[in-house]
């Protein structure tokens, strides 16, 4: 339970810091870089190492590469929909989340089958 509370507090704080960085910088394309900051990883990898060891954290980081590629496809699709079709930002961001998960999971599935 203490681990979950610690994750919540550290995660909330780190995500808030990066969200503020995304808010203060201009131009907006530069500020957008902080929208894909490794906030969750920075908040949780330390806790994971303390509880489960470095090998466990390295395995998570391997999967994170697939998640990051999925995020790239997701953010590119969101950018296209917002700039060309002009749908509301929150609707685009939430409706496209299955794209992130689908691409990430497919890449992970492929990576696990590579020699």
């Amino acid at each position: 339970m203490a681990e979950l509370v610690l994750r919540f507090l550290i995660g909330g704080a780190v995500v808030s810091v990066f969200a503020v960085l995304a808010e203060i910088f201009t131009p907006k394309s530069f500020a957008g870089l902080f929208g894909a900051a490794p906030s969750i990883a920075l908040a949780t990898i330390g806790i994971t190492i303390a509880h489960y060891g470095k090998a466990h954290a390295a395995t998570e980081a391997h999967s994170m590469v697939c998640g990051a590629i999925g995020f790239f496809i997701y953010a590119s699709a969101a950018s296209w929909f917002l700039m060309r079709i002009k749908i509301p930002a929150l609707a685009a961001a939430l409706a496209l989340l299955p794209v992130w998960f689908g691409v990430s999971a497919a890449l992970l599935w492929l990576a696990e089958r590579l020699p």
Binding site: L4, S39, T44, H56, G67
Partner: protein, 157 residues
């Protein structure tokens, strides 16, 4: 293109906007931990690259732009969505840095001290993200210049 930091923007963030980000960020971190525990580090690791900041950030960018235009009695709905799209394009460039961060952690964690890996990975994230952003900008400017040149040629003819 010069990058500016506008610290006054922090004052414009309302308490409920801070709360949404904190709660959402904390919840995603807890969920990532629980998923890792239940389904193993392979599936849990995917959620280390979950778009935690982006959805709230993009909607706030849109809302702020709309309010900004409303002060001048203009409808900023379309403008807000375009700016959110530009923000998303920046996030896509940031993902290249995010992948770099993950690769450094994956390859270096078993061999180096944790703090050294964190510093190196953060440095790689920042450098790769800025390099990707800068390269995209350069290409955009070149395209605009090329378009302008084409337009001049068209007008001259």
């Amino acid at each position: 293109m010069i990058v500016h930091a506008r610290l006054a923007a922090i004052k414009g963030i309302r308490p409920h906007e801070w709360a949404i980000r904190f709660v959402f960020g904390g919840t995603v971190c807890v969920a990532a931990g629980l998923i890792s525990k239940r389904f193993g580090p392979e599936i849990g690791g995917l959620f280390l690259a979950f778009p935690a900041i982006f959805p709230a950030g993009a909607s706030l960018v849109e809302a702020h732009e709309r309010k900004h235009k409303a002060r001048a009695a203009l409808d900023g709905t379309m403008r807000g969505r375009t700016v959110a799209g530009v923000d998303a394009a920046g996030a896509a460039m940031g993902c290249i840095g995010l992948a770099g961060f993950a690769v450094v952690c994956w390859l270096c964690l078993p061999h180096l001290a944790t703090i050294a890996v964190f510093l190196l990975a953060t440095l790689v994230w920042f450098a790769a993200a800025i390099l990707a952003w800068w390269m995209r900008k350069r290409r955009t400017f070149r395209t605009r210049r090329a378009r302008r040149r084409t337009l001049h040629v068209f007008r001259a003819s």
